[in-house]
């Protein structure tokens, strides 16, 4: 209830206020949004772990200790050890690194490609738009994981291939969102004015229209980041993503899940919780941000 009245007054203030005021108001609302706060904290936690990992971990992620294999959690090894005696806690912390590089890069590529694609197809309309839309439809008729599997099988496994295939398919999806936003802008007066001034299409697209379609692009980007983490983790679990000797979470789960039948739950559970907390964090943050932007 208080949330609704608050957003109502905020909207009323926003309607008559300057952009700087609106931005400050949005930040204030964001900081009061519980899902956004919890999500951001989880995301920031993992980013700090990824950066500061080497100074935090008690053991090297690849250090084997064959005298202490598969030991349960203890004061020496908080999360126990795996079948090579590697410290699971150290591997969980260091395992955040690859996915936090690959997934954001794929998202960035997708956002850039999608923005250009959406601006061009939304602005050009006609045949270009029709042809591109049909091709996009065909690509999107395949679940991302299966499309990625096809391309990775054909081209070979590497982090670059993973980034490119996820980035390009995201480009198609982001492109649709941007295209829809551009269709709402292209017939407005400021675009017509730019036309009359004799501006080139490139200028109109990137200097006039782009700033006005930024909010949906930003929301789409955060949502995509969540999907990117989801997809990279799943591909790594299938052995088609991040490769050994990385202590990546999805990869570690695929290497160890045969062990849980024997009762060695700690070799899998902590990786699973890490993936869960990271994706839930990103998506809660995205959800909160979207709610505030919509308000």
């Amino acid at each position: 209830m208080t949330g609704e009245t608050m957003t109502a007054t905020a909207a009323a203030e926003a309607a008559m206020d300057t952009p700087a005021r609106i931005r400050r108001e949005r930040v204030r609302l964001l900081l009061r949004n519980l899902p956004f706060l919890v999500g951001s904290l989880l995301l920031i936690f993992w980013i700090v772990m990824a950066i500061a990992g080497p100074w935090i971990v008690p053991y090297g992620a690849d250090d084997t200790d064959l005298l202490n294999t598969l030991t349960p959690p203890s004061p020496d090894h908080w999360f126990g050890t795996d079948q090579f005696g590697r410290d699971v806690f150290s591997r969980v912390i260091m395992g955040s690194r690859d996915i936090l590089i690959v997934a954001p890069l794929a998202t960035l590529l997708g956002t850039v490609v999608g923005t250009v694609l959406g601006l061009v197809t939304g602005y050009a309309k006609g045949l270009t738009d029709d042809v591109v839309s049909r091709i996009v439809d065909a690509f999107l008729a395949l679940p991302l994981l299966i499309l990625a599997m096809l391309v990775i099988t054909a081209l070979g496994i590497s982090n670059t291939t993973v980034i490119i295939v996820i980035g390009l398919s995201f480009g198609l999806i982001v492109g649709r969102t941007v295209r829809a936003a551009v269709l709402g802008e292209r017939d407005l007066d400021y675009v017509a004015a730019a036309h009359l001034r004799g501006e080139k299409p490139i200028y109109i697209l990137f200097v006039e229209i782009l700033p006005n379609v930024m909010p949906p692009i930003m929301v789409e980007t955060t949502v995509r980041l969540g999907y990117a983490i989801f997809t990279v983790a799943s591909l790594s679990f299938l052995g088609l993503g991040i490769q050994p000797p990385s202590p990546d979470w999805g990869l570690s789960i695929s290497q160890n899940y045969g062990l849980i039948g024997g009762g060695y739950w700690w070799t899998v559970l902590f990786y699973a919780l890490s993936i869960g907390s990271l994706v839930v964090g990103v998506n809660l943050a995205a959800e909160g941000a979207q709610a505030v932007l919509d308000a």
Binding site: L142, P143, L145, G239, I260, L269, V280, N283
Partner: protein, 319 residues
């Protein structure tokens, strides 16, 4: 008249999409890998052996000829020979597809009523803690990868509580009930992914319907709350949900790859995953094209259902 023309139009669009899809799959399986014979025999094989294998497989023919013979075969149900099994692909695909359909059916039968119910409850108490818990729990369940939730479920139900088996594959000659029992655990991760989407759409549709003019009219007309919701709100609210359910079919199949692998279940997902690992391109191509066809078909049906059920959309003009 209008109905059939619109139907034909959508069918034509679906055919165009499938045609483009077949080119993508063909490119992925025949063009991108480069030298298929080399890929199968490995880097140290004799060049003549590679050339001979390529000739046997028909890969030394021009691309257009290869595409034509592949796609005409597919349309006639002749999906080619598997490199791995040296046997026709079609029976493998048929068997796997049937298994996957069983798994998907159980997931859907559980999740559709649960998701719709969750969405309705959340909408009727919009803004309350019940609503927020359903939305946040649904969102969290939806975004966690299937293998992560699957692993946790296996630990809890199979290893600690011993109530469900570790695999999705029932023993041979198992009855229907036993098969369902084996499939419940693999269906749960799929349930978790879909629940959030369906509940969210049902909630949004309900809230829109609850705040609409026709609902206000129905209330002012003196109908009871039960009558208003049952007769006026639900029908309009659930329309968008149908579309989401059909769209999710595609994502469900993507999830099947992971779930079937995790639970060691022989469906279409684990089949194409195995084909991808073994570089069994005919199997991979056929499997992926079948999945794409199922997806396009599901979307087409969703479109038609939506138009048929929605009194306000009369499908390309007057009916």
């Amino acid at each position: 008249m209008g109905f059939y023309r619109a139907l034909l139009y959508r069918l034509a669009l679906a055919v165009v999409t499938l045609f483009l899809l077949s080119i993508i799959v063909f490119a992925g399986c025949q063009v991108l890998p480069g030298d298929v014979g080399r890929a199968i025999l490995g880097p140290f094989a004799d060049a003549r052996a590679v050339a001979q294998l390529n000739h046997q497989l028909g890969i030394d023919r021009p691309l257009l000829v290869q595409y034509w013979s592949w796609i005409t075969g597919m349309v006639q149900g002749n999906m080619g020979l598997s490199y791995t099994y040296r046997a026709p692909v079609a029976p493998f695909i048929g068997h796997a597809l049937l298994n996957s359909l069983k798994l998907a059916a159980i997931a859907f039968i559980l999740v559709v009523p649960a998701g719709i119910f969750g969405g309705i409850v959340a909408a009727l108490r919009a803004g309350s803690w019940v609503d927020r818990s359903i939305v946040i729990a649904g969102l969290s369940a939806t975004v966690v990868p299937e293998f992560v939730s699957g692993i946790v479920l296996i630990m809890v139900f199979s290893i600690w509580l011993h109530v469900f088996p570790l695999t999705g594959t029932a023993p041979r000659h198992a009855g229907v009930l036993e098969q369902i029992y084996y499939l419940l655990m693999p269906a749960l991760p799929l349930f978790m992914i879909l629940f959030g989407y369906i509940a969210r759409m049902a909630r949004a549709g309900m809230i829109e319907a609850l705040t609409s003019d026709y609902t206000r009219t129905a209330v002012l007309k003196g109908l009871s709350r039960r009558q208003v919701i049952g007769r006026h709100v639900l029908r309009n609210a659930l329309l968008p949900t149908i579309t989401v359910i059909a769209t999710q079919c595609g994502y469900l199949i993507g999830g099947l790859v992971v779930v079937e692998t995790l639970f060691n279940y022989h469906g279409i997902g684990s089949l194409i995953f195995a084909a991808a690992k073994a570089k069994d391109f005919p199997m991979l191509a056929a499997g992926i094209l079948v999945i794409g066809t199922v997806y396009v078909g599901a979307n087409l049906i969703a479109d038609l259902l939506y138009s048929a059920l929605n009194p306000r959309i009369s499908f390309g003009g007057r009916r």
